[in-house]
């Protein structure tokens, strides 16, 4: 991609303003007709990035499908805080089956919708769409087999992963999406190499790209207009689609509730989390870093990295994390003049 479209920002600020946009480009959430797919009153923590991400993502998918949407949800925080019977926040048909099978359940729903559409004489492309969603544990670890199967069959499912870098629902344990050096309950900040080890883990968006599915994107809850645009774009496409959203977790990250969006923005501005799009196995563009910041800016406000900033700061560990961010910048072309 040769140019960087500035989608939503006013010049020189991070303020998002609908008034600068044509009505058809205004955000879903700004509309009084938004679906409120996940209603208020749920039990998410204050400052929960996942609740915010889910609200924007599912409402955007609902708008794109004209309300003809079914959701399969993996076990996890999102499932638990949104639903204990007799209450439910979901204003769309929603099913929770197991921790590791959301993608496969969604495949089954999509197959049923296709048959029903054919039987109703409306052809093999059903109006009712299917979204599956889960956290990073349910996606990158226990649900990975089903996810990969859904990808390779190119089933007509949009899978959304809300990545907060660990098993927060069970008390902040390490997942394969936990970043290096981060403290979790199973990678404690003790011993000579405190926190999660380097050289492990996986970046599932890149693995999704390797499946050559029609559409892959990453996003953060700092750029909600970008997130909405990506969900809407995904809904214009048939086949397997994957959106991976970085959602800070105040509990697991040891961060103030009001810093959720700031941390998500810092993850992107430091290069820690690359925000990009890919189609059919090719990366088509990335959201550029506006002002490159050192990773320390991102790490320091989070208690999960507090062991790096003690009396004797672990400068060599911070340098390794900086090198990983710099690698992302180069690999995904996050600065002008990148490799893309």
């Amino acid at each position: 991609m040769s140019h960087q479209p500035v989608k939503f920002y006013q010049t020189g600020t991070f303020t998002v303003g609908n008034r600068l946009l044509a009505p058809e480009e205004r955000s879903v959430q700004a509309s009084a007709k938004r679906f409120n797919s996940i209603n208020s009153g749920h039990r998410a923590c204050q400052g929960c990035g996942e609740a915010l991400g889910a609200r924007y993502a599912i409402d955007a998918a609902m708008e794109a499908s004209h309300g003809q949407l079914v959701c399969a949800n993996a076990t996890g925080c999102l499932e638990v805080f949104s639903t204990p019977y007799p209450e439910t926040s979901w204003q769309l048909p929603w099913i929770h089956s197991l921790f590791g099978n959301a993608a496969a359940v969604a495949t089954g729903i999509a197959a049923a919708m296709k048959v029903k559409s054919i039987k109703a004489g409306k052809g093999p492309v059903p109006a009712t769409r299917v979204v599956a969603q889960g956290g990073d544990g349910g996606t990158t670890d226990i649900g990975f087999g089903c996810l990969s199967g859904m990808f390779e069959r190119n089933d007509d499912v949009l899978y959304i992963c809300y990545d907060n870098g660990g098993y927060m629902n069970t008390g902040v344990q390490r997942s394969s999406a936990t970043p290096p050096a981060a403290r979790t309950a199973t990678t404690m900040a003790v011993g000579p190499e405190p926190g999660n080890v380097f050289g492990q883990g996986k970046f599932v968006p890149a693995i999704a790209v390797a499946h050559e599915i029609p559409y892959v994107a990453t996003a953060t809850v700092a750029d909600l207009r970008d997130l909405e645009a990506k969900v809407k774009k995904a809904m214009t496409i048939r086949g397997a689609r994957y959106i991976h959203i970085l959602v800070p977790c105040p509990l697991g990250w040891g961060a103030a509730s009001h810093e959720t969006i700031k941390l998500a923005r810092l993850a992107k501005e430091t290069g820690v989390f690359p925000v990009f799009e890919a189609e059919h196995g090719e990366i088509t563009g990335s959201l550029k870093i506006r002002r490159k910041l050192p990773v320390e800016e991102y790490l320091r406000p989070q208690k999960r990295y507090a062991h790096l900033f003690g009396k004797q700061p672990r400068v060599e560990v911070i340098a390794r994390l900086q090198a990983l961010a710099d690698r992302n910048v180069k690999k995904y072309g996050l600065l002008d003049g990148g490799t893309l």
């Binding site: 309300g67 204990p84 929603w94 089956s97 197991l98 496969a104 495949t107 049923a112 089903c146 199967g149």
Partner: protein
């Protein structure tokens, strides 16, 4: 229509006649021929309005089935052995959600040691999973039970497992009467789900339930299974009215009149047992048979009624509750509680060990004299076992058990006693 065909193919035809809308499958012997047949019918356009999905695991197969069934589609899958265990979490989930999925289990042993041959360990491991479990005696019954299974599952909103012996039935060519589409349509109405993922009327399915209602949810699962005990004979009677033959039901006696000794079994081995009993009856022995068709829910009253006049009951089962003895026999003992009847557990045919008429003649004659143990193992090679136990006593590093035994046996082939 009468035809000579493989059991798997007959079942595939029966399932197709039930107009399934979503079929998902992962290959595992000896179930594969069933889904191969269905896959060909879908791809060739013979089975219309049906999606056939090749999934990446049995866990995914049952998960896809959960999704499609919850979305209101008539859903079928098939598995066996390790596959059933691999999907176990989703097996419980499907019944917990009350989804009327029909699944064939082509019964096969569970490893280790890996073994592809028939016994009932796989299905019986899931006996408490909340599925109805029906065991076919022959391929005609396998065909008929699948048609009844969809009716039962959808009426009760519970999943049904139709169990048929791997290889012995799935790969056997027998004369089978395949019903017509008109007959099946007359018997099996279109699927009307009790709950469905429908954007016009959104519901949340599968949310968390705490201690305040979990007991009641589970009790209802039990109560609904118990309802099946009344419905199954009704559906079997309706089946006879449409198709003109007896199939299904709860349990069936054979030559049981005046029998002092009754043999209880499930599945295809009933054929061999009945032949032996016929021969023994001719020789004047007071012996008969009870075949259990429905294992879950367990027809306690009907089993008790069938067995209560006997002096002794021999349960011949292709399963082993390690550390206890039998599984089927434990259920039979419960049905006979407080009655002065000796119940013998005979574990037989594990991992495809042939159950021969000769062995059964010898077993039943000894049983008539109460000359067998409470728990025994048909045609077990005691010398082989004793030799290995001695080896373990002599050497700390005695090596893999299975390898040591096979070295002694010295053959790689089906063993017929």
């Amino acid at each position: 229509m009468l035809k000579q065909c493989e059991g798997s193919h007959a079942v595939a035809e029966a399932v197709a006649l039930c107009r399934p809308e979503v079929i998902c499958a992962y290959p595992i012997s000896p179930q594969t021929h069933i889904v191969e047949g269905l896959g060909e019918m879908v791809k060739g356009g013979e089975l219309k309005d049906c999606e056939f999905i090749n999934v990446e695991s049995e866990f995914a197969a049952m998960s896809v089935a959960i999704g499609s069934s919850a979305a209101g589609a008539r859903t079928y899958t098939a598995t066996a052995s390790q596959g059933l265990l691999f999907m176990a979490e989703a097996v419980y989930n499907a019944s917990g959600l009350g989804l009327p999925i029909v699944m064939t289990v082509a019964n096969r042993a569970i490893g280790a040691p890996i073994n592809i041959w028939n016994d009932h360990t796989d299905a019986l491991s899931q006996r408490d999973a909340g599925w109805l479990q029906i065991f076919a005696e022959n391929n005609q019954e396998a065909v008929d039970l699948h048609i009844q299974a969809f009716r039962l599952a959808e009426e009760l909103s519970l999943p049904v497992m139709v169990c048929m012996d791997g290889f012995i039935l799935t790969h056997a060519y027998e004369r089978v009467d395949i019903p017509s589409q008109e007959q099946v349509d007359a018997y099996l109405p279109p699927y009307e789900p009790r709950q469905v993922l429908d954007p016009q009327a959104p519901v949340s399915i599968g949310a968390m339930v705490g201690p305040e209602a979990f007991m009641e949810v589970r009790y209802l699962a039990h109560a609904k299974q118990m309802q099946a005990l009344e419905r199954i004979p009704e559906y079997a009677a309706e089946f006879k009215a449409v198709f003109g033959r007896d199939s299904g039901g709860l349990c069936h006696t054979y030559q049981a009149e005046g029998a002092d000794t009754l043999i209880v079994a499930m599945g295809s081995v009933l054929g061999t047992i009945k032949d032996v009993v016929d021969e023994m009856r001719e020789a004047g022995h007071k012996i008969g048979v009870l075949g259990i068709t429905l294992f879950r829910p367990f027809p306690i009253k009907q089993v008790r009624d069938a067995l209560h006049r006997a002096k002794r009951v021999v349960v011949l089962e292709k399963s082993l509750a390690v550390g206890l003895g039998g599984i089927v026999s434990t259920n039979v003992r419960m049905a006979l509680s407080a009655l002065p009847i000796d119940v013998y557990t005979v574990v037989a045919g594990l991992g495809g060990r042939a159950i021969t008429k000769r062995s059964l003649h010898a077993l039943f004659r000894k049983a008539e004299k109460d000359d067998i143990d409470a728990v025994s193992f048909l045609d077990l090679n005691h010398a082989l076992v004793d030799k290995h136990l001695a080896r373990e006593k002599a050497h700390r590093r005695s090596g893999p058990v299975a390898e040591a035994l096979l070295r002694e046996v010295g053959t790689v082939a089906a063993k017929i006693a």
